[in-house]
Structures are given as structure tokens and as C-alpha cells.
């Protein structure tokens, strides 16, 4: 067995800080399966009451955008300031917006 195969697979960890908030990515843990990953996440990332709920997902299951594509993906949004609400002046007559 190669070292890489002996290594436990990696899981990404998402923690919900309080009810009503979204789960946020906090880091990753090694574990042999999802159940162990949740226990590890609990031990590693919730020691100081950081959360009320944990999600884990195999890191290999995440599809990521290619940094090389960043220009194509994100540059076009740069010159479209009108997509921000602050671009628009609100007339004084409008009371409830």
C-alpha cells in the first residue's frame, strides 16, 4: 500500500454557528468515513462552542472552478457597476424602499 492510500481521506467541514445562520466552511479533517469525520470535526472545530450543527463532505466530491479561468469567469462583472443597488439614486419621494 502506498502512503497515499494509507492516509485517511479528507473531509471538508462546515459549521452552523447558531440556529438560523448558514453553515460556513471552517476547515478539513481526515477520517475513514462520514461518521468519523463528524466526530473529528466536533473535536477539532467546536471546542469553544463554535457551533450547533456540522456538515461534512468528502473533499474529492467538491468540484472547484479553475483559477486559470478566473479572468473569463469574474472579469466581465467588473465594469457592471449598475448591478449594485448603490448605483441608483433614490428619489426623495420614495419613502419605503
Amino acid at each position: 500500500m502506498s502512503d497515499q492510500e494509507r492516509e485517511w481521506p479528507l473531509f471538508e467541514v462546515f459549521i452552523r454557528a447558531r440556529s438560523g445562520l448558514e453553515h460556513k466552511h471552517v476547515g478539513s479533517v481526515h477520517a475513514v468515513d462520514a461518521r468519523m469525520a463528524i466526530e473529528h470535526a466536533r473535536d477539532v472545530y467546536t471546542r469553544r462552542q463554535e457551533g450547533v450543527s456540522i456538515w461534512v463532505v468528502r473533499s474529492s466530491q467538491i468540484e472547484a472552478s479553475d483559477p486559470q479561468d478566473a479572468d473569463a469567469l469574474f472579469e466581465p462583472a467588473k465594469d457592471k457597476v449598475y448591478r449594485h443597488p448603490t448605483f441608483y439614486a433614490i428619489p426623495d419621494e420614495v419613502k419605503n424602499l
Binding site: 485517511w8 481526515h30 461518521r35 468519523m36 471546542r47
Partner: protein, 250 residues
């Protein structure tokens, strides 16, 4: 001073304290960083339980000894933890077997102690029970993984189980202190915990494809202060600082 009640609380405290100290020995040496933190978490829970119980024991004794004096300035013969918890960590498999045996016992014990006629004990038990549920989940899942794992891991945890099983009789063998506590509604009837403990252990062992060792009747007497040779080494490390520099603080 309430003699039996003091001893009863001290036994609970010492059992948590010594097990917490043992688990602390893993810090920096566990098989994976995640397990390092996991074992440290169990350890800190147990030391936390010990602190509450030792403080209360000090009050019951009424001689002005606080938690630190009780933890750091008593000798081996005055410690009354059950002998199981002072047994060496061995490999990771042995540590989780020891943990399983004691977690399942503390689960039943704290469950009962929540109804103790002593309000302080009931309060501490309620808090400790939540922690213990996680401890059991942790140790049970590891025993299943290792037992139902490779031939090597199974052989190791089976051997640890055979070796540590003889220390479990003490958990359910009452003496005069336990009898008095049960009569006064402060503690449970220890022998009645055994059936539920065994059912819990059997459930885990079955899933782990491990064999329960045959009965060993001899009860150790850790809780009466008669210990195996291992406790002295635990205390030497735990108490060194306070013995060498009395009253040292940081």
C-alpha cells in the same frame, strides 16, 4: 464530617481524575491529529468532573482541603479510584477498550445518580452524563472499527479485552460505603447496574465481532485504596510539580 458520603464522592472523583490523567498521556502521541484532540477532549471532560467532585468531597470532609490539595497532595493508598482506570494506556486499541468498559459503567452510574437524594451529586451527574454519552459513542465506535477491522487490529483489541476484563468485577461489587449510600438514596445499588452495563457492552462487542471474556470473580480493591503497581507512576507524574514546588501557581 460525613465519612461514607465523603468516601463515595472521592471514589467518583478519583476515578474520573486518574482516567483523565491517563488519557492526557496521549497528547502529542495519538495516531492522528484528530484523535489527539479527541482524546484530549475526553481527558478534559473527566478532569472537569473530577474538579467538581473533589471540591464537593472537600466540603463534605470539612477539613478545609480544596480540590488541588485532594488531587496533588494525597498518596496512593488514599486514592480510591477503581483499579481499571489506572491501567496503562498500551496501544490505542487497549486505550479504547478500557474507555468502553468505564464509559458504559459511568453511563449507568450517572443515570442513576441524577436521582440521588444528594442534590449536589445529582447536579454533577446530570452534567457529566452528557459528556459521558459522547465518550461512549467515541469508544464504542472505535472498538467496533478495530474489532471488525483487520486481523491485526482485532487480535489486539481482543487481547486488551481479555486482559482488562478482570478489573470490571470491582465496578459492581459493593462494600459498606456503597451499601450505606444505597440505603440513604444517595447512590445506586451497584450490583443492579451490571445487567444494563453488560447488555450495553454485549451490543458493542457483537457489532465489533469480539468475544466477551469468561467471568473472573476476583474483585480488585482500588476503591479501598489497594491499587495495582501502576497508580504510583501516574501520581508521580501528576503530582510532581506540587510536590517539588508546594503551592506553585500560574
Amino acid at each position: 464530617m460525613n465519612g461514607a458520603q465523603f468516601v463515595f464522592v472521592l471514589r467518583l472523583a478519583d476515578t474520573s481524575l486518574i482516567l483523565g490523567q491517563r488519557l492526557g498521556e496521549w497528547v502529542g502521541r495519538a495516531p492522528a491529529l484528530e484523535e489527539d484532540l479527541g482524546l484530549a477532549n475526553l481527558s478534559l471532560d473527566l478532569v472537569g468532573q473530577a474538579r467538581m467532585l473533589l471540591s464537593y468531597a472537600g466540603e463534605l470532609e470539612g477539613k478545609g482541603r480544596d480540590e488541588d490539595q485532594l488531587a496533588y497532595l494525597r498518596d496512593g493508598a488514599d486514592f480510591c479510584n477503581v483499579a481499571l482506570v489506572e491501567q496503562p494506556n498500551g496501544d490505542f486499541g487497549r486505550t479504547v477498550i478500557r474507555q468502553l468498559l468505564i464509559d458504559a459503567w459511568q453511563l449507568e452510574l450517572y443515570e442513576e445518580l441524577q436521582q440521588s437524594s444528594d442534590g449536589r451529586i445529582a447536579e454533577i451527574a446530570a452534567k457529566a452524563l452528557k459528556e459521558t454519552r459522547y465518550h461512549f459513542r467515541y469508544s464504542a465506535s472505535w472498538v467496533v472499527r478495530l474489532g471488525d477491522g483487520t486481523p491485526e487490529s482485532q487480535a489486539r483489541v481482543q487481547a486488551a479485552l481479555e486482559d482488562l476484563w478482570r478489573f470490571t468485577a470491582e465496578l459492581f461489587t459493593p462494600d459498606e460505603v456503597d451499601e450505606e449510600m444505597a440505603t440513604r438514596g444517595i447512590g445506586p445499588r451497584l450490583e443492579t447496574l451490571r445487567v444494563r452495563w453488560l447488555a450495553r457492552i454485549d451490543g458493542v462487542l457483537k457489532e465489533a465481532t469480539l468475544k466477551r471474556p469468561t467471568e473472573v470473580a476476583y474483585p480488585w480493591h482500588g476503591k479501598s485504596g489497594r491499587h495495582t503497581e501502576h497508580l504510583g507512576y501516574v501520581l508521580a507524574e501528576m503530582q510532581f510539580l506540587q510536590r517539588a514546588y508546594p503551592g506553585a501557581q500560574w
